[in-house]
Every structure is written in C-alpha cells, then in structure tokens.
Symmetry: C2
Subunit: 317 residues, 2 copies
Amino acid sequence: MQADGPNQAEKSYIGVDLSGPTLRAALVSAAGEVARVLEAPLEREQLVEQIARVVADLRGGTSVEALGVGLPGLVDPRTGRVHFSTDLPLREEFYADLAGATGLPLLLENDANAAAYGEYVLGAGRASQSIFYVMLGYGIGGALIFDGQIWRGASGFAGEFGHITIDPDGIQCACGNVGCLETVASAPNIVRRTHERLFRDSTSSLSKLAVNRDFTVSDITREARNGDDFALLMIERTGRYIGTAIAAIINLLNVERIILGGIVMEAGELLLDPIIREARRRSFQPCFETTQIVAAQLGLDSVLIGAALLAAQKAGA
Amino acid sequence: MQADGPNQAEKSYIGVDLSGPTLRAALVSAAGEVARVLEAPLEREQLVEQIARVVADLRGGTSVEALGVGLPGLVDPRTGRVHFSTDLPLREEFYADLAGATGLPLLLENDANAAAYGEYVLGAGRASQSIFYVMLGYGIGGALIFDGQIWRGASGFAGEFGHITIDPDGIQCACGNVGCLETVASAPNIVRRTHERLFRDSTSSLSKLAVNRDFTVSDITREARNGDDFALLMIERTGRYIGTAIAAIINLLNVERIILGGIVMEAGELLLDPIIREARRRSFQPCFETTQIVAAQLGLDSVLIGAALLAAQKAGA
C-alpha cells in the first residue's frame, strides 16, 4: 500500500504518448484519472531504454497492471506489433524489447486511435455510440469508433483523414496525391501558407514577428485572438478546408460526434466556427443535423488516457 | 408441396425492389437463389395494393416465410418504418399497411443497403469482411457493411456517397451543396454533360443520335463500346470523378472491397479502369493496396436478394 485515499484499492496502469517531440507518460487509474505525469524530450535512438526508465520512475512502489503506448505509426491489429512508423525509428522487435524491458503486459496503439479512445470514454465522446476523432497537428490523422470498437480497416489503415482530396488541382502531398487536406491544414502547412501570403500583406503583426524569427501555428492563433485580421483570415480559410473534409465524414459515416483535437485546435472557436459553417454547406442536410462537431476535451492527456485504458482492456481489467 | 427437386424443403422468401421505374419481385430461397421474377411498371399511387397482388402471384401455393422490400428512402433502424423517401410517395403507415395486406413478416430496407447486403452474401463481396457498396444509377448511393453488419449511422443516413464534394467550385446540387459527385456522375448528369459538350463537337455518333431523340447513359455506353472517341472521353472523365470520391472511402475506411453497381456500371471496364487509376492517384498508397475495387456481380437482382435475405434474418431463419 502506497497511499491513503479513496482510490488506493483501484488498479493502476501506465500510459505513454510518443506522438510529439516530447515523451509524456502517466499513471492512470482504471477510471481514467491521470495521477502523475512525467515529460522529457524524446530520445529517438534509445526509446526502449527511455520508456523503461520512465515506467520505473512512475511505478515507484505502486502496483501497475499494464502499459499502453500511443505512437505515430501503424500497429498490426492481429499481433499488436508495429507495422511501420513514418516518424520514429521503431523496429519490428520494439514490442518484444519493450515488454521485456518493463516486464509489463504491453499494448501498442496508433496515437490517433489512442486519443480517440480516451475522448470516447472520458472526453468529448462520452455518452455517444459512434465518433470520428480528428487529430489536427504536425500531421493530420483520424480514427473511427463504432459501438465502442476502434475500426482499423482491412489492414489497419482506416482513418487516413489527412489524405482526403480537398483541392483536385492543389499542391503535391508527400503521399503522392495532390491537394490533400494535410497540404493546407496541418500545423507546418498553415505556417507555410501564412508565410506565402505575408509577402503580399505586410500590415499584419505577424510580419513584425517574421522579421526576427520563424513563427509557429501557436503564434498565428495568438495573433488571431488579439484581433489581427490577417491571422484571423488564415484561421478562417483553414477552417473552410477542414470543414470540406469533415463533410465527407458526415455524409459517409453519419457518426454521432466528430471530435477535433490536436495543436491546431488551440484556436478554439475561431477555427471551429468556420469548420462547422463549411461542413454544413457541403454535407447532406439530414446527415449534418444528426452529427455534432465538437472540440476535444482531454488536450494532451487523450493519448495517455486512451493508451492506458486500452492496455487495461487487453489485460482483462 | 409444390415441386420436386432438391430445394423443396428449403424455406422461401419474397424480395421486392422499388428502386427504379419498374417494380421487380421474386421468390428467393434461404440460400439466395432467385426462383421466379415478376416485373411491372411501378404503380406509384397504389403501391401497397400492387405489392400485395404481386406477392400473391408469387406465392401461389408455396409457403413463404417473410417479405423484404428495398426502396429509395430512409428506413428507421429502430422501428423498421420508412422515415422518408425522396422518390416515392410512401407514408408513415406504409409498413403497417403492407404487413396487413400481405399477412407476412415484413422488412423494409434502403435500396442501396439491400443491394450491398446481396452482394456481400452472394456477389462480389463474398468472402470479405468489410465492403463499401456504391450504387451508380439515377442517383448515387452507398452502403457500408462491417463484419456482416450494415452501418446505418447515428440516424440511418450513413453511406451518402453521392454528396461528397468532388469540385469545390462545381455546379449546384439538389442537396444544397455545390460540386457533389452526383452533379456529374449520376446517369442523368452524365447525359447532361454529354449534351453540353456535343454543342462543341459534332463528329461523334452521338450527335446523329441526338438529332432524332434524347439519348440515355446506355446509348453513351454503347457508342463507347463501338469505339466512339467522344463517348469514350465522357466515360473516362466520369470515371475520374468517381475515382476521386472512391479515394476518400479508401483513406477513411480501408474496407476490403469497394463494389460498384448500378446502371452506370453497364460501361464495365471502360468505366472501372479510370475509376481505379484515379483512386490510386488520390489515395494513401498503403490503404489503396489493401482495398479491391470491383464491379458488382448480381446486376438487377442484388436488391431482391438482399431484401429477401435481410427479411429472412429478421424472421429468425
């Protein structure tokens, strides 16, 4: 027994989030409460060792039942192994190595799926049967949950929301297609579009910022909140692109809720409002009326919580 | 006992298809074999009476277990009643009236869902777990089947494939959006686009046809098969539009098979090839590689078979 308190008898799990440049890990209760969060810059070349160390720190003397890790890659739904990862150097042996190093029952999950599951159980998806979760970050991902089950598709690739074509004559995407949503609405591409337009408009407060250093999507969001017309325009245009793709989700899936998360959603209603307007304009009205479009509620913790709860589920909690 | 033969002990069902201008109905075995088809022009104002008459004709002395009807409208997944129908004057009482008039356990189903189920069990979807079915006809519809279950969405509207935006600056659709797939790739819209272009190109064999009478999408298909360059071009362009929307299905759902049916698919590979080319170009490669895009196999019988088998399932066969 480690501590007094009402939850001392409740089982504990560890959730780890490898989706960004910072590793985040936490003790999570069976009810999804986050007890303690550790953060550290991701050691990309020594991930297994780093995670094992963080897990040991979090455990202390606490009894931990299982470990769930959300990562930017594809996890084979049959074996639970990493199929491939575009952003991290994860080998096929990552699963076995990490399970061995921690001695814990292990679950690996795609980061968007983990975030979606967290929001479904404890966040903006509570009390709904079916959701589509959109991660608007450095890339753009998506995840579907139908009746409590993550839909992974025939080969685990379902939910590739970022590669929906928005502009058939648009610019080239890394995936090979042209005019994908990701080419205009991911965080780096919002910054790129803003840079390009600043050449033509030097009245924005972003122009002054751009003289001294590169700016980020968070800078654009802040200037928009401060009333900068140009920054507001960029956010509004971005919302229209995203709303066009959201309309396809509405028409095809008619899910109860579409939940928008990720760093780009820091803009809040400045972004959500144009998304909803464009989605209404571009979707079949009876579908639109029964689908809610809402902001995510768990912020950075969604991957942690979702990964921990999925690990708990797998461990038979 | 009506007839000798190996199936005499097998239970019989009746499937009815109200999706087109002609009512079609058939006796269908529990295994999905179509025994006898009746056809008649749809009596839109006396549908209950007409269906009851056709059902009586088909039954003869045969023992029939249940009746399934596929129709162009939305069926409430909870009650089984018609929610609304854009093309037929079906009242809320249609279900009760028809059940009363026939005395049979009754199932109503959206026509695209019924066709999808038929193809899933006995046609191009055999031996796959998940399919998306596309009906390319006078309108454009779609249906999803995951692990044997039709996905209807939060309010029964899932699968509205025809209202995916293909051209953000395109023409107005009846649904309110602009540039929906249906505005360019439904049978009447293929004819409209062909008419518009014929003003500029009078070398096609379709020009001669157009002098004497209106032509149909079947005429365009026939002339394309006969090698008319202009007709081939129209089919090829149509395939590119459809392929763009198919890419969204591939990216979002990663289903095992996408099955294309309906009268527009009379063009066969002349249409299927450009659809697949464009879908490959516009989808995320790992998703594309694990999704097959194929032509439907049951033709006009898919709605009949699917409606009958769903009725059998509901009746507990």
